[in-house]
Amino acid sequence: MSDETPKPGGDPAAPAAGEAAGPSHREQDAPATAGERQAAPDIADLLGGEPGGPLTAVADPPADQSGPSAYRVQEQSIDFSAQLRQVATRDDAELLTINMGPHHPATHGVLRLLTTLEGEVVRDVKPIVGYLHTGIEKTAEDKAYWKAIPVIERMDYLAYYFNAMAYVGAVEDLLEVEVPKRAQYLRVIHLELNRIMSHLVWLGTTMLDLGAISIFWYAFRERETILDLFEYSSGQRMHTRYFQIGGVAEDIPAGWEQSLRRFLVEMPKRIDQYDAMLKRNEIVLRRLRHVGVLSAEQLQAWGVTGPLLRAAGVPWDLRKAMPSSSYEDFDFQIPVGTEGDNYDRYLVRVAEMRQSLRIIEQAIDGLPEGPWITEDRKVALPPRHELATSMEALIHHFKLVTEGMRVPAGEAYHAIEGPRGELGCFVRSDGSSKPARVHVRDPSFVNLQAFGDMARGEYIADMIATLACLDPLLGGIDR
C-alpha cells in the first residue's frame, strides 16, 4: 500500500456549460472483480482443511414460539431460498445470514441489513428500508404550497435547506416567479453552510464507526457554530423554514455577517486540525484504502451521484453543470477522486468543505442589496407595515394565509446538488392551492442500491466502513 495519497482536486475539472462533461475522458477501468482487492482468506485453511458440511443458509433464527407472531410475519415473508443468489465460493461453504438492525449502533439510522456471511466475508447484503417511512409526500398534498415547506424539510434531516430548496425551486418553476438576486445569494450561503454541517456530522459519525471517537466531539463543536448561525438568521437550529417560495423568509440580521466572517476565518484551521489527525493516520488508511471500490460505470448504472461518483473520478456536479440560484457567479472547484474507494470519498468530502467555505466567502463579499423575497404579492406575504396602509396588501395577506397561492397546472422537476448527490423534487399542480403530488428524488435512496455491490467480498468490518462512507440518511431513504 503506497503512502501516496491521490490529489483530490486541484484540476479545474469543471466543464463550462456546453462542453462535454461526461466520463469519456476518464476511462476508469474497473478492477475485474470489484471488492476482491485482497483474496479473502480461504475458510478451509483457517478451519484446517475440514469441510463445513453441506451448503446451509440459515434464513431465520429458530422460532422459539410455537406459532407465528406478529413480529415474525415480517421476517418470514422474505423468501430466502428463491432470492439468495448462489454466492458461496465453494460447495461446502457454510453461509450464515444475520440481521443487522434496524436498531444497531453502526447503521446510521434505522436501516436493516440482511447480511450473508461466509466466515467474516460478506457474500451478499440485502438492505431493507421503510422503518422510518413517514408519509411526508402524502402529507404535503394536504397542505398549501408554502405550508408544505416545513413538512418537506424534515425528509433528509441533515440537509434541510436542500430539501426546501428543491421543493421551492420546483414550485418557482411552475409559478415562473423570479427570485431576487439577494435572496439567491442568501440561499447559496445557507445551502453551503448546510453542506458543511452535513459533512461534519458525516465525519463525526464515520470516525465513530471506525473507532476514532474523539473526532465526533471536534466535528460537533464546529457544527454548533454553524447551528448558531442558523439560529441567528432564522430562529431555529434545525428545520428552519427559512426558504420560502420566491426568496427567503427574512433578511439576515445585523451582526450575522460578522459572525459568519469569524466562522470563515476559523473553519479552515479546524479542517486542518481534522486533516492532521486523520489524513495520514495509519489506521484510517488501512481501514479505508482500497475498500468499497466500485467503478464509475457501475455507479452510473446504479444512478449514484454526488461525492460517491466524484470520488470514482467523474467530475459531475450540478452546481457547475446545471447551476441554479446564482451558483454560476462563484468560482470554486470540484474535488474529484481517482480510485473510488472509501478513502477517496473521505478526501472528497473534506475538500468539499473547503470549497464550500470559498463559495460562502464570495457570496458574502458580493451580497447585493435588494429585496429578500419576490415582490409578487400573489406569492409572498407583504411586509407588515404595508398592512396598515394598503388595502390590496391586506387582501393579499388574507388570501395567502387562508387559502395559499394558486399555482397554474403543470409538472416540474427541480434538481440541485445536495450533500449526498442529486436531490430532485417533482411537483405536480392541478391549479389549486395545494400540490397534487410531491415526490422527492432522494440521493440516499438511490445510493443505497449500490451498497450491495460495494460490500460484496469485503470483511464485515469493511462493510461497516463502506456503509459509513456511503453516507446514507434514512430520513431521505424512507421519506
Partner: protein
C-alpha cells in the same frame, strides 16, 4: 399568612433527655468500634442508626446520576441527541454519557424521532429487552404525539409503550432535552424501584407466547 420559624436560640439548647440519649448513642458507637457491642444492643444500635435511610437516598442519588441511555436515534431528533453528547451541552455532566448499544445494559431509552408503523414492533421488542428499572423518554413531537405528520404512517409512542417524560419540540433544543432528562432524574431520585407495571397501572399488558393453534393468548 404567618411564618413560623424555629428560633435559633431554641435549636441551640438541647433538653436534658436529648443529652442523655446522645451520650448513650455515643457510648454505643464507641463500643461498636471496639467490637464490644453484641446481641440485642448491636441490633438496636444498627436499627437506630441513621445509616440505613442515608443508604437509600445514596442509592437513589447514584441511580439517578448514572443513567445509561440506549442509542436509539430514529430521525432528526437523533441529531439533536447527538449534539447533547457533544461538548457544548454535555450530558456527561449528569453522568449519562455511557450510551450503550444493547438494551440489555441500558436503563433509559430516548425515542428520538418518528416511530413508523414498521418500526413500532421493533421499538417495543427493544423496550421489552431492557431490564428493570427502565425509563423511557419520548423526545420530540413525533414520538410524543403525532407531531408534524398526522398521517397513516406513524404512531405515537404512548400507544404501545409507557413513556415517563415527553419532551416537545421539533426538534427540541438540546437544552430542552437536558431539562427533560433532569426531570427524569428527579423522578428516579424520588422512587426508582417501583416496577413500571405498577407505575402505569399496566397490569394485563404482559406478552405471552401464542397458544398451540396459533391464536394469541
Amino acid at each position: 399568612m404567618e411564618v413560623i420559624r424555629s428560633g435559633g436560640a431554641q435549636a441551640a439548647t438541647l433538653s436534658e433527655a436529648d443529652k442523655v440519649a446522645f451520650r448513650a448513642r455515643q457510648s454505643r458507637a464507641r463500643d461498636l468500634l471496639r467490637g464490644e457491642l453484641e446481641g440485642e444492643e448491636l441490633e438496636q444500635h444498627v436499627r437506630d442508626s441513621v445509616i440505613t435511610t442515608t443508604l437509600d437516598k445514596a442509592t437513589k442519588w447514584a441511580q439517578g446520576n448514572s443513567i445509561f441511555p440506549l442509542t436509539f436515534g430514529l430521525a432528526c431528533c437523533s441529531i439533536e441527541m447527538m449534539s447533547l453528547v457533544g461538548a457544548r451541552m454535555d450530558i456527561s455532566r449528569f453522568g449519562g454519557e455511557a450510551m450503550r448499544g444493547t438494551p440489555r445494559q441500558s436503563d433509559l431509552i430516548i425515542l428520538a424521532g418518528r416511530v413508523s408503523m414498521k418500526m413500532a414492533p421493533v421499538v417495543r421488542r427493544v423496550y421489552d429487552q431492557m431490564l428493570e428499572p427502565k425509563y423511557a423518554i419520548a423526545m420530540g413531537a413525533c414520538s410524543s404525539s403525532m407531531g408534524v405528520f398526522n398521517n397513516y404512517a406513524i404512531v405515537p409512542a404512548d400507544k404501545f409503550m409507557p413513556v415517563d417524560v415527553h419532551i416537545p419540540g421539533c426538534p427540541p433544543r438540546p437544552e430542552a432535552v437536558m431539562y427533560g432528562i433532569l426531570k427524569l432524574r428527579k423522578m428516579i431520585q424520588d422512587d426508582p424501584t417501583m416496577g413500571w407495571r405498577d407505575r402505569y397501572k399496566a397490569h394485563g399488558t404482559e406478552e405471552l407466547p401464542p397458544a398451540e393453534d396459533g391464536a394469541r393468548a
